[in-house]
Symmetry: C2
Subunit: 175 residues, 2 copies
DNA sequence: TATTGTTATACTCTATAACTATA
DNA sequence: TATAGTTATAGAGTATAACAATA
């Protein structure tokens, strides 16, 4: 076979060059479809890169937010990372088990657990971040720096709509 | 709670307005992260819209490609939709069971099964396509038509790289 | 010998519900 | 009464391996 599909731990890294007749199909211009493929290839590549430090993108994202000094609670992580609260529990358990983060009761509301990185967690994050960044550069190598910035700006508007913008009809009574 | 999270059949439609301190985090500018969130919200909204015709985005995509007259084989569907061949079997079984498509052995290579829509399948697709398009319009309502076009063009480059572009280092020896 | 589709199976990811402790 | 986190469990999604038919 001329174009092998590389299989990884948990995810398929898609064949990079589908047949032309499909590339130019109408579906091939559909934004949700393109988002799904782009997500699969970028997250897949990042997962492969992060294997070197025993992380996957989900745990890495939790560690990332903890390392930004935002003192996130698990509930906040759940909302921002779009993961169920019970998944956050498992992810934090994993990171805590590795000595990368600790849970600390928020003094102002002791129900909330603030996730704080340890020194080892910060070192792990720096290493993981470098690996992920290199993987991103490869995944997005077909874009110029300007195009990549534009893509980021447009995606932010779609993925993280402003709190007070137009009513943002993503969820609601029709939901 | 002031901002309820709407839960749907199979997927969470994310809270549209995360706290500002997270929106402006470094993670909040990471393209794979944004792709993951954008995919979740657009596919989630499309899934909700397609419930009205008893489809989900994956089966809908198979039907879409079949209805474009491309005579896709299951192998081709698998590659383009980035789904395992065994998943395509299940999806085609479902559509065939509903009378929306048929499998026909390719006369030139009888191992391959070409997926062809029935008349009912075409009617189903038209209805589903209208529903999905309306959902997309809502999901992307924060972009102008120009911005949406730009987003599509950039995503195509990332998600469907040209067969003969730069070596496209998505898979390879470093995999 | 290799490939397409198929089946069976296992694994990962995600969602649901019930519980606790705090508020 | 309501919310954060936890646990157990179930369900959807995805991957792996073995097989039949065809090349």
């Amino acid at each position: 076979m001329s174009r092998p599909t590389t299989r990884t731990a948990g995810e398929v890294v898609p064949d990079p060059a589908p047949a032309d007749r499909f590339r130019h199909s109408e579906l091939g211009g559909d934004i949700p479809f393109l988002l799904a493929r782009a997500r699969a290839s970028t997250s897949g590549a990042a997962n492969v890169a992060l294997e070197a430090v025993g992380l996957k993108v989900r745990a890495f994202s939790v560690l990332w937010l903890a390392c930004e000094g935002l003192q996130p609670s698990q509930r906040e992580l759940s909302e921002f990372l779009n993961l169920d609260p019970s998944q956050i529990v498992a992810l934090v358990d994993e990171l805590e088990g590795r000595g990368a983060v600790t849970r600390q009761a928020d003094p102002r509301d002791r129900r909330q657990r603030i996730i704080t990185p340890t020194a080892a967690g910060r070192r792990l994050f720096r290493k993981a971040h470098a690996l992920a960044e290199a993987a991103d550069d490869r995944s997005l190598s077909m874009l110029t720096a300007d195009e990549r910035r534009t893509l980021g700006e447009l995606l932010v508007r779609v993925a993280l709509p402003a709190p007070d913008g137009p009513p943002g009809r993503l969820s609601g009574p029709g939901g």
